[in-house]
Amino acid sequence: MSVVKMQKVRIIGLIEDKEDLISQLQESQLIHIKDFKEGALDDYFGDISSDDEERHISEEITHIESAISFMERFDENKPLIENFFPPRIEIEEKEFKEIVHNFNYKKIIKYVNDIREKILKIDEKITSLHGDISILTPFKNLSWFPCEAKETKNTKSFFLKGQKEKYILLNDKFSEIDTTHLEVISEDSDFIYLLLVYCKENDERIRSILKEQGFESINLPLCDKLPSKAIDYYEKQMASLLEEKEKLFEKSRQILKNKDKLMIIHDWFLFGLQREEAKEHLRESERTFVLQGWVREDRIHAMKEILKEKFPATYLENIVPDDDEIPPIAVKNPPVIRPFQSVTNLFGLPHYGEVDPSGLVAPFFFVFFGLCIADVGYGITLIALSFWAMRKIIVGKEAKQFFYLFMLGGFSAILWGIVTGGWFGIDAAKLPPFLKNAILFNPLEDLMTFFVLSLCFGVIQILFGIGVEMYEQLREKNFAIAFADQLSYIIIIPGIILWVLSKQNPSLRHLNQLGFLIIASGVTIMLVSSLFKGKNPIWELIIGILAFFWKAKDFLGNVLSYSRLMALGLAGSVIAFVVNTFAVMALKIPYLGILVALLFIVIGHIANIVINTLGAFIHTMRLQFVEFFPYFFQGGGEAFQPLCRESKYIISKN
């Protein structure tokens, strides 16, 4: 439940150890490598001249990636789940190394590229054939060879294409010119196709009319054949091309089994690239190199062991960070908190020295998430689905935590379901007595109870948040601030609530004075401690009072925001109830009734679970981020990212 302490170290080693050491560091994931400050150690070490290795690796990665994405086009049995979770390969280190050594990926990539090029060429040809056929189609009924329409000593002939509605005008204009013959060959929905024969002496005039009316001349391909025959000829060619393409597709499908291995090789290169990138932070002299970075204080011993055992000629020293240097953040939490850690990670990591809020978020998240679902059946389904996902879907450690989170949420939903009588939305009145007895309130009937309960959770969490901030201020020995800005609120707010309740409720009238006393003592604490806050006590006092009203307004808004717990819980219950009502109605349909009812129940409840869970997750998270965190947590720390193997496709099994 805390931010891990970091130690900055510097490692100096022999050049010949460099490659091995970097590999070792990558495997052990111990050090977050940092750049040297400009000019540091300049007397002994220089920058490393960049070599071609990095460029070479990036090129290989690009080749492999394009081959993989080509192969993915032929993966027809891709399961639906891969749309949500990209495919990963779980692999042991031994098998990984074996594939890296033995698999001839270059051969596969060449093979893939050949196929791809062939397909491209075929596609080009098909496109051009399509074009030719579409030119010929309007002339397919022509009973003479198009090449006969050629230039003679005195005449010229053209095939023309133009807008249908322009034809009459064109015909009129041509009829004014002697010895001009215009013949309609065919027409389709928009265009008309014509044969034009005319005397050469009219050439200029004819052309200008054609241009004016937007008619263009067409050159028919294969004009020494009848157009219908030419079309047949092209279609046969097309068929054989398509056949050839299908064969290439089949070949592509056959090499699909190599995709996994290519992915593994891809990651091997990726790891290499990460090592090369790490090397850019190093500096070198003639015989030695130096690197610096952060190591978790609790792992420094492990680091020393590795160096001592494998690289005896390497020297490690602890160094003092620069004044303006902030260590990267790693947090340590017990396993039960870790799923909630991934929620806070979405907001951001704490600053160095700030409290890690995951442990504080955990109980609230657990309770709220379940309250938004509040159904035993849905909870069980959620647990089952998470369990199935954890077994069947290969994901990284980070994503796995979310499955745990939903599983925990499922348990919470079961608990809330029991006390609210939520069993797949079945009418509470129809539940067996022992389940009925467990019901504390029915959300559909006791709306106000649910509402007040939600707001109570809000008050509790926000007061808790203020308490955490007080703890932080006390830890930093800002006693006056802790008393004036936090402790006073924690006292005054419950006092006000008590006072209002006693005013509203005749049976609580005797608590009226107690409430007033609590408020008064809180105000006193605030006023007195404000005097010690700064140099100008009067100013601090005025600021303090104004801030109180401002914060009270915030508090009210934030607490009301928790009413979403009720709305979401209710929404889920109502929809579940509706699904059941419809299913019961469907039972009245003759013969098919049971089938339709079952369909309603299965699809309806699954859809409701999905919507409900998404809503529960997002809004519970929002309550943490927007309502809870501002009271004590800022976040924004830089994550501790040790040199490691960051894979795209594989997950190592160990």
Binding site: N83, F85, R564, A567, A571, V574, V578, T581, I618, R622
Partner: protein, 157 residues
């Protein structure tokens, strides 16, 4: 059916209709953006789906209020329910703000989700942040629904 029940029915229908329209428009806006992304990166379908689905909840909220009115007036029962004109008007009044809030919040949530699609196109890891920002808008849809539920709870039939 007399006019008072007609008013109540009109209210419920309006709430469901406005909310449904809003969700349809909102999802439409987000889905268009998502299609643009998918044409380049079909692998992001799952992530995009979450963002596109967000403005869909408003439709449900409207429906929930409509359903609660149906329950309240006993429309699903065998007998024709009897309510007064003033009760009918009250129910109609409750429904209007609910429907309007759903309508507008769904549309704007759709816009925010579409922008979120732009975020995950460049930063796949920022999915949940984009979802959270878009979900901020939903707060008001929830408050709208809550207003309706609390009012409806207060109307005595």
């Amino acid at each position: 059916m007399d006019i008072s029940l007609g008013l109540a029915v009109a209210g419920g229908a309006l709430a469901a209709a406005l909310a449904g329209i809003g969700s349809a428009i909102g999802i439409g806006i987000a889905a268009e953006a998502a299609d643009g992304l998918l044409s380049e990166e079909p692998g992001k379908f799952g992530n995009a789906l979450i963002l596109v689905a967000l403005p869909g909840t408003q439709g449900f909220y409207g429906f929930i209020l409509c359903f609660l009115i149906i329950m309240k007036t006993g429309l699903l029962g065998g007998q024709i329910p009897v309510i007064t004109i003033s009760q009918g008007l009250q129910i109609l009044g409750v429904c209007l703000p609910v429907g309007l809030v759903q309508l507008y919040s769904a549309i704007h949530q759709g816009k925010a989700s579409a922008a979120g699609i732009g975020v995950i196109a460049k930063q796949p890891k920022a999915l949940m942040q984009a979802v959270t920002l878009s979900a901020l808008i939903e707060t008001y849809a929830i408050i709208g629904l809550l207003t309706g539920i609390l009012f409806l709870n207060g109307i005595k039939i």
